[in-house]
């Protein structure tokens, strides 16, 4: 069965197949950052991701929702090959970043990660470094020595992370001296400093209070002008607030993908409906 679903304002055609959910935003309408095709990921014998096909549009926020253990975090990490840090992973299928396959044999994961930055659930500024060093460390360890350039990038990154005004006089203080929300924005600045094309966020607000959360969400809204953002969240209201597109994962499979307003007002799949309305299990 094929459903044609129209999304406002410009119609994006979305195809959903009940058996193998394959969702593809029409590439003629929207520029795509990631084209994930038939991706499966195994941890040892356990299949964490099962034949996922999904296109992530550029300069937009795509949120990934689903119950714990549904593979959403693994999927997010597969977009910059961070999941490979767990020994014994195996990947099948392809992930194209602006047309280039991230899993081609000659691709260095470190280069992938420079292009696809990541922000984690727990804010993790390096404890031995100052606020300034935390932001520039990525550039320094990738061989940038030019002081002037580093300072410019430091300010630019902190400004983009909406943190500059709060820390500009404390750049030499420890990164860990900041509040939780500031630490998370510092981590975003650190990721921005290496000028990635995409930012992945793995539940970036789950440890923050509502005010700090709102600041991060506002930041996400600003950042999408220049970046493509993919965010995993347990907070459905947050997904509704920040994202343009939403993907629902369950048991390692992509159940439904579409414009956020559509997913949250009229999901096509019963499992999506049950999950977002709180009728699960």
């Amino acid at each position: 069965m094929i459903n044609l679903i129209m999304a406002a304002p410009d119609p994006i055609v979305l195809e959903t197949d009940d058996r193998t959910p394959e969702s593809a935003l029409d590439s003629d309408e929207v520029r795509l950052t990631f084209e994930v095709h038939n991706l499966s990921i195994w941890y040892g014998d356990k299949r964490a991701i099962d034949s996922v096909t999904l296109n992530v549009p550029s300069n937009a926020v795509t949120s990934i929702i689903g119950p714990s253990g549904c593979g959403k975090s693994t999927f997010l990490r597969s977009l910059n090959r961070m999941h490979e840090l767990v020994p014994g992973t195996r990947v099948d299928g392809s992930v194209l970043l602006l047309g280039e396959n991230l899993y081609a044999p000659d691709v260095d994961p470190a280069i992938v990660r420079r292009r696809v930055g990541m922000v984690f659930q727990k804010s993790n500024p390096f404890p031995t470094m100052t606020i300034g060093e935390n932001v520039t460390i990525g550039l320094k360890l990738n061989g940038v020595r030019d002081r002037k350039f580093l300072n410019e990038r430091l300010e630019k990154s902190l400004r983009m992370a909406a943190l500059w005004d709060e820390v500009k006089d404390d750049l030499h203080k420890a990164g860990t001296s900041l509040s939780g929300g500031q630490q998370q924005r510092l981590c975003i600045a650190r990721a921005l400093a290496v000028e990635p094309e995409v930012i992945l966020m793995d539940e970036p607000c789950s440890a923050l209070d509502p005010i700090a959360t709102a600041k991060i969400e506002e930041l996400i809204h600003e950042l999408k002008k220049n970046y493509t953002i993919v965010i995993v969240t347990h907070n459905m209201q947050q997904a509704g607030r920040v994202s343009d597109y939403t993907a629902f994962f369950y048991l390692g499979r992509l159940i439904e993908f579409g414009p956020t307003s559509k997913i949250f007002s009229n999901p096509s799949d019963k499992q999506t409906e049950d999950y977002i309305t709180g009728r699960f299990g």
């Binding site: 949250f264 409906e273 309305t277 709180g278 009728r279």
Partner: protein, 228 residues
């Protein structure tokens, strides 16, 4: 198909209480409309008076539904079908209230008519009220049963009602010209017919809300309804 319960029991209770209030309000509006019409046809002032008095309770229910709806939105942040049901309940309750208002208008005009000798043209109202009443009942049914097809059918039936109202109006105007002494009476009948036509309009709105709640589809202001 059985919809599974929410993990939050409170949520289910709040939703069903909201729904029950809507149904109670619709039931009361239906009864008021019925009494007003019977007051007119049977020339019974008592029925007219009770119809007018019932309006107060319906107004209170409308306020209650608004309050409950906001409360559910606030506390549970419903999404998907839950959100649509709450929004539909809040949108359709003013329409039910307006239908009750039309019923009191009819009752007031009926009381005026009852003071004079009966007009045989009252019979013109009978088919119109039957049509309007059935539209209203079906629109509420469509909401209760989440029946998209019934909702669409109600919307389609509004045209007939308009036509019936227009026809009755023309006829009554003719009669006014022929018999100027009964001018007031005919005018009241024209107004009653207009009221019933308005009931049909509100029933159409309710049916549209019902379709939205059931299928997330906005069928308002469409030149042609396309069945899928």
């Amino acid at each position: 198909m059985v919809t599974p319960k929410h993990i939050l029991g409170n949520f289910d209770e709040a939703l069903s209480s909201l729904r029950n209030n809507v149904l109670m309000m619709a039931g009361l509006a239906e009864r008021t409309l019925d009494r007003a019409i019977r007051g007119l046809l049977q020339r019974d002032d008592n029925l007219c008076v009770t119809a007018i008095a019932d309006d107060e309770e319906i107004d209170q229910l409308e306020k209650q539904i608004d309050k409950d709806g906001v409360d559910v939105l606030l506390r549970f942040q419903p999404v998907a079908s839950d959100l649509r049901r709450v929004v539909a309940a809040m949108k359709l309750s003013p329409n039910v209230e307006r239908i009750a208002d039309q019923a009191t208008n009819i009752a007031r005009r009926a009381r005026k008519l009852n003071k004079h000798a009966p007009l045989p043209e009252v019979d013109l109202i009978v088919p119109i009220q039957a049509h309007a009443m059935s539209m209203f009942k079906d629109s509420i049914d469509a909401f209760t049963r989440e029946d998209v097809e019934l909702g669409r059918a109600v919307v389609a039936r509004d045209k007939d009602l308009d036509l019936m109202n227009k026809k009755a109006g023309r006829l009554l105007t003719d009669r006014m010209a022929e018999d100027p002494k009964q001018l007031r009476g005919y005018l009241n009948l024209i107004f009653i017919s207009r009221c019933l036509e308005r009931v049909g309009d509100h029933a159409t709105n309710i049916a549209e809300d019902a379709v939205y709640a059931a299928a997330a589809e906005d069928i308002r202001h469409q030149t042609a309804t396309v069945a899928t």
